[in-house]
């Protein structure tokens, strides 16, 4: 059994207890994905699985057969940062940086959800094809990504800066 991680094919570990998060961090040494709680409460471990944001601590590696995983390490190429990574730096969307990979992956997944018209608790028009970009929509949708340093304002600024046009 294999999965694809940032474009590379890798085989799935034998021990079925290994979470996707531990597989990335301990087996593949991709430690950009963070472990803040290991129980689905903080979002630090968010990665993209077939383009959807997923908590890798609540996902077993064996569930990811034939899946395409993108981690924070897969967002920049040849040293060129993803525009959202650049915007996080520009808007000071982090302090310690521990929640950051999860915030960035989550925001990318979130944009796709808005484009697909997936409503949130705050969405007014449930039938809209595309959810309108709005700072509170972003806040609601990013609320699963905790940040104890309190970089929330900068994170929303960075997301707005990069995604406002893309979303609409």
């Amino acid at each position: 059994m294999t999965m694809t991680v940032n474009g590379n094919t890798v085989s799935i570990p034998n021990d079925p207890r290994v979470s996707l998060l531990d597989f990335l961090r301990e087996h593949l040494h991709l430690s950009g994905t963070k472990k803040g709680c290991n129980q689905g409460a903080c979002g630090a471990c968010t990665v993209l699985v077939d383009g959807q944001r997923v908590l890798s601590c609540l996902t077993l590696a064996v569930q990811c057969s034939e899946r395409d995983i993108t981690t924070i390490e897969g967002l920049s190429s040849d040293g060129v940062l993803h525009p959202l990574q650049q915007a996080f730096i520009e808007h000071d969307g982090f302090q310690c940086g521990y929640c950051t990979p999860g915030q960035i992956c989550s925001a990318i997944g979130m944009l796709e959800e808005m484009r697909r018209g997936v409503p949130s608790q705050l969405t007014g028009d449930l039938c809209a094809e595309v959810v309108a970009f709005d700072r509170d929509e972003v806040r609601e949708r990013m609320s699963g990504n905790l940040c104890r340093c309190g970089a929330h304002n900068g994170i929303v600024d960075a997301i707005e800066d990069v995604f406002r046009e893309a979303a609409e």
Binding site: D22, Q95, G97, Y98, R139, S143, C147, I155, V156
Partner: protein
């Protein structure tokens, strides 16, 4: 407290009193900071510019390596088992099944752990880093519910986690003190903090209060809190012979190295602690049992060890903020002039913790009042050692004091900002010394204007939009300026015109590495990309705690000392053939990659040229700053005026902070981008303190019952409105760069500003944190 500790504290106290008097009356010019730092006046440098974090790209790429991300050959993984009783002893511990489990390398209990000295408790000695000084897995005694009783090492984390679940412990429980009211009944004693009793009396506050024309007298409560840094505590540890190497997540690298050396009977230089990145600290990332246990297990097993605490583990073995019950009684005349101020109360601590929550500290310098009694009584509970958490004392003390000021303002019918202005002291009310820099009235004026304070209706419950009641509140933020002894820095200047500056300080997200690059560049007259800052390693110079918001000052002063030494050496090397010939160190400044006469810029030689002519590849200068006597000569603090607008749902009682503004007076702001983030971060933790955060302690058995991020509610994105930050930017003439630390002040005053806004919105005065729906529900 033992007799010995008491005697030492008394002796310390006497010495301190004598020294203090001498320092108070000495001339300003004898003090560190007596002559203003030349950088205060500098205009065109990097200081004050919103430079993005230099470690930004690494962090945004996920490439910054944290403690649990160091990989060592042959490394094994640790898991811990925690006691389920609060006091007693281990009667029996069965490890057979764990030992036989797949992948297990070691099971360690008190039966086979190596003999260790107890950790030196924080503040007991200069470099002590321990959260308490209890023995670490040395005997069968249990001191708190959650104490580690066994450690497993295995080849994988999964195997370690499975094996630890197989350990069976039988306890012989003994009666434990886990109820606050019972502990108070057994008696309290006056707390002490940083060697001074938490008790101050001036005038006769009881009498003045009894005689006052207007009074308020209330009790305020704050619960336990946990830091909850997003990165759980972790360390990767290896022994190389008798050398111990610890890749830690810590805000005290040098303290940890020294303390581990005491515990393991090693030479201090044989312990190497690194901590290049820390995923948030807030006071919690110091020396606790996990590093000690992992080092012991690494020694027993002969394998490198990774210990990464689970989130629950962090609650079990890392201390948090203790609870408080505070009385504030204020008396004033009819114009609002305070005549009496009583701030007293009780806080529990564990028998061996390093501090009682010192909630009266912010009150000492707050208001001009002739009659004041401040007092912290302490009782003891059998619990995890409580510890320092962001603005210990101030965070919860200002909640009580500043709520009470709001209550008094309403009684008097005076605007709360005006009430504070009428009680603005012209010197420190307790210490009697002058303030170094205090512009709180200006912070209020500019903040109020920007926030639209004049839109507030003083009558509670008078503004409503649909279901939502809207209110505004304000409160004063304050945090002391600290500069702790022990700092040092080293500047290495190369003949290619580059400089490296080294200090054993920490980057936990405060922006230390970025800001110190800016400061050093300005001091030397170099561009940013010619300066490299190295930190987070115990082999670098100095003992610099990332605590008390003091790193900026401590490092700033150390770099200044190193720079002064460097300039002296450079002028010597420059000799008589240089345009600088004959100049004294205080006549030159660093500029354009070299030194120049301060008034005649044409008398200039660049660093590369000086070094090359002297046949030197590099020049190294070490700097050790003077003792921080300025802290006793002046009353030195940061200030802020906090403004909150809140919406409270009239049907459900749900409170939502809709706007927040912090107007700060924290000296000169060195980097507007990173400083604003620090202020916001503090305010957001203050929103949590006000509305959602509470560590729930089961008084029946001393167990924390919400040890997870699902059950302990820190603010999430939707809880955080746009937070506006502004500052006076008035430099403190007596501090390096004119700056103050900015890390902790944001959490102070915020709780009261929110509580006062809730009152203004609803007419409900909640004195019991957190302000949850049930307390507002009608």
């Amino acid at each position: 407290m033992s007799m010995f500790e008491k005697a030492r504290e008394t002796a310390q106290g006497v010495m301190q009193t004598v020294m203090k008097k001498a320092v108070e009356v000495a001339p300003d010019s004898w003090m560190p900071g007596g002559v203003p730092d030349p950088l205060i006046a500098a205009k065109h440098g990097h200081i004050g510019r919103p430079v993005s974090r230099i470690d930004g790209p690494l962090k945004a790429k996920g490439a910054a390596r944290f403690a649990a991300e160091f990989r060592l050959d042959g490394m094994v993984y640790a898991a811990l088992s925690y006691s389920t009783i609060a006091k007693g002893r281990i009667a029996d511990i069965n490890i057979a099944a764990a030992q036989a489990a797949p992948g297990v390398v070691l099971v360690m209990t008190h039966c086979n752990a190596p003999r260790l000295n107890p950790p030196p408790k924080f503040l007991s000695q200069n470099k002590a880093a321990g959260g308490d000084d209890l023995p670490v897995m040395q005997d069968e005694r249990i001191h708190w519910n959650g104490q580690p009783v066994a450690l497993v090492l295995a080849e994988t984390q999964e195997e370690a986690d499975h094996a630890i679940s197989l350990i069976e412990v039988a306890y012989a429980a003994e009666p434990a003190a886990t109820s606050l009211s019972e502990a108070i009944g057994k008696g309290t004693e006056t707390g002490s903090f940083m060697g001074e009793p938490l008790h101050n009396e001036i005038g006769n506050a009881d009498k003045a209060f009894a005689d006052a024309a207007f009074t308020v007298d209330s009790v305020y409560r704050s619960p336990r809190h946990n830091h909850n840094a997003m990165e759980p505590h972790a360390a990767t540890i290896v022994w190389e012979g008798d050398r111990l190497i610890i890749h830690d997540a810590t805000q005290a690298v040098a303290h940890t190295a020294w303390s581990m050396a005491q515990i393991f009977d090693l030479d201090e230089t044989d312990v190497h602690v690194t901590s290049p990145y820390v995923g948030g600290g807030f006071g919690g990332k110091t020396l606790w049992q996990h590093q000690i246990l992992a080092a012991a297990a690494a020694r027993l097993s002969g394998r490198p060890v990774r210990i990464a605490l689970s989130r629950e583990g962090v609650y079990r073995i890392i201390g948090g903020r203790s609870e408080t019950e505070q009385r504030v009684a204020l008396g004033s005349d009819r114009y609002g002039k305070l005549t009496a101020l009583i701030h007293s109360g009780i806080t529990p601590k564990s028998p061996n913790s390093a501090l009682p929550e010192p909630f009266i500290v912010p009150t000492r310098s707050a208001y001009a009042v002739d009659n004041m009694t401040l007092d912290v009584q302490v009782c003891t509970l059998d619990m995890m050692a409580n510890t320092f958490m962001r603005a210990p004392g101030e965070a919860v003390g200002t909640f009580a004091l500043e709520s009470a000021m709001d209550e008094l303002a309403e009684k008097l019918g005076i605007d709360p900002i005006e009430l504070r202005a009428r009680n603005e002291p012209d010197k420190d009310p307790v210490g009697g010394v002058p303030f170094s820099s205090r512009n709180i009235v200006e912070a209020y004026r500019s903040g109020a204007e920007r926030f639209g304070w004049d839109m507030r209706n003083a009558a509670p419950g008078s503004r409503r939009e649909g279901e939502w009641l809207i209110g505004m509140g304000c409160a004063t933020a304050t945090y002391p300026y600290y500069r702790m002894p022990g700092a040092a820095a080293r500047i290495t200047l190369s003949d290619n015109g580059r400089a490296t500056v080294d200090f054993a300080a920490h980057e936990m997200g405060m922006g230390t590495s970025t800001v110190q690059t800016q400061v050093t560049a300005d001091r030397l007259g170099l561009p940013l990309d010619k300066v490299t800052v190295r930190y987070g390693d115990s082999t670098l110079p100095g003992v610099i705690l990332a605590g008390g918001s003091q790193q900026t000052a401590a490092i700033g002063m150390a770099v200044m000392s190193a720079y002064n030494g460097l300039v002296g050496e450079l002028l010597k090397l420059a000799g008589n053939d240089s345009p600088l010939a004959g100049l004294k160190p205080d006549e030159v400044v660093g500029i354009n990659g070299g030194l120049a006469h301060r008034n005649k810029p044409e008398r200039f030689e660049n660093y590369a040229s000086i070094l090359t002519r002297a046949n030197r590849h590099e020049l190294v200068a070490d700097g050790t700053p003077p003792m921080p006597f300025e802290l006793q000569h002046w009353s030195m603090h940061s200030y802020g005026a906090m403004f909150c607008e809140i919406r409270v749902n009239a049907i459900t009682g749900e409170p939502r902070v809709s706007r927040f503004l912090g107007s700060f007076d924290c000296g000169k702001i060195l980097n507007p981008k990173t400083a604003a983030s620090q202020f916001r971060g503090g305010i957001i933790m203050g929103i949590g303190l006000a509305l959602t955060e509470e560590t729930q302690f089961d008084e029946r058995n001393g167990r924390i019952v919400n040890p997870s991020l699902a059950d302990y509610h820190i603010p999430v994105h939707l809880d955080v409105p746009e937070i506006e930050i502004m500052w006076t930017d008035i430099p403190d003439p007596h501090t390096p760069m004119g700056a103050h630390g900015v890390g902790e002040i944001g959490i102070t005053g915020t709780g009261a500003a929110i509580a006062n806004a809730v009152y203004n919105a609803t007419g409900k005065r909640v004195r019991d944190l957190p302000i949850t729906l049930d307390k507002l529900f009608r």
